[in-house]
Amino acid sequence: MQYKDYYQILELERGASEEEIKRSYRKLARKYHPDVNKSLEAEAHFKEIGEAYAVLKDPEKRAAYDNLGSQWQEGQDFRPPPNWDAGFEFSGGPAFAGGEADFSDFFEELFGGLGGRPAAESYRSRFSSRGEDHHAKIAIDLEDSFHGTTRTISLKSTDIDRQTGRLVIRPHTLNVKIPQGVREGQRIRLPGQGGAGVGGGSRGDLYIEIVFNPHPLFRFDGRDIIYDLALTPWEAALGATISVPVLGGSVEMKIPANSQSGRKLRLKGKGIPGKPPGDQYVVLKVVIPRADTKKAKEFYKRMAEELPMNPRATAGN
């Protein structure tokens, strides 16, 4: 298994005081809490921080951990020497905020044989012995939402081991059907696919949040998608029919004459499918030809003379 450098994880020196450990933990927990931090690694990092704190804040565990020596590197291949914990007494399971235990192999090996389940005063465990809810995120493409798709996700599912009665973590794959028309931020609830219940309680649920991968052509807002369309000055001024990409193909779109940059045209029903379907907005952007040649410069100067205008005039001027 891999060594975990708990001091590094909590951004501490080895001789840190209990006060420093608590302060650092609180600061990092706030920073990486998955509800507050939207990066995909936040949750894993948050759990790591919780695990490091569980060990370092307990004097006995910390002493035993320090006893392993400081020559190891985070991630390094590691085997605990025999009797590494001789003379140390660990009381009970680690109690720390962070919901269900999802410890590293390193932690399980060194501190895991203590009843497994954290003694955390979980807000929810007071009221039910049902298993914890799990939360996961899936990144899909816009096209997946347009067509609907099936995704395979691997989870670490918890179960009560029949022989030892302890909570164990088993990897688990699920085929999840992503319905057509699902939007970013929407969640899918899979009943009974969460954590194992304790004392005969039922399993918790699995919530999967949908996140869209950035799309090369479109931006999205709820059910609507947005496409930026570049136009030449003559297309914008005289009007034109332009082929515009939409989900599932393209459409011929009539650009009205005298369109300015920033104008939004709507393709009704061409957004994310649903009842009602979203729309596709096409935002116009006029791009001017470069004035690199003498001819081009002269053309522009003539244009200034023949089509005078003041774009910075405010209403009433």
């Binding site: 509800d35 507050v36 950035p214 999205f220």
Partner: protein
């Protein structure tokens, strides 16, 4: 294995009791969250209260913030509002790389 999926979207409505059951909280805690303005039910009285699908998410976030970061309920209310505002701003900014 075929799994039944429930999409938590705008059209989903849950009752007071269903919300307690889904989120594993007491009625008292839901009441407190309503008082704090974290979730806003529709309906003339508690018996008829209906919550949105996204209220489920707000309750779950509220519980996690309390449990993991020791935030009190008024603080949770502020945080959730700010998170939603951040979300809107991110969307308005566009997601193109």
């Amino acid at each position: 294995m075929k799994i039944d999926v429930i999409v938590l979207n705008q059209s989903l409505r849950v009752t007071f009791d269903e919300l307690c059951e889904l989120c594993r909280v007491s009625r008292e805690e839901i009441n407190e969250m309503v008082e704090e303005g974290i979730i806003s039910p529709r309906g003339p009285s508690r018996k008829n209260w209906l919550f949105h699908g996204y209220d489920v998410k707000r309750v779950q976030i509220a519980l996690r913030l309390q449990r993991d970061l020791q935030v009190n309920l008024p603080g949770v209310a502020v945080i959730i509002d700010l998170l939603e505002e951040l979300d809107q701003l991110r969307k308005a900014h566009g997601k193109r790389t």
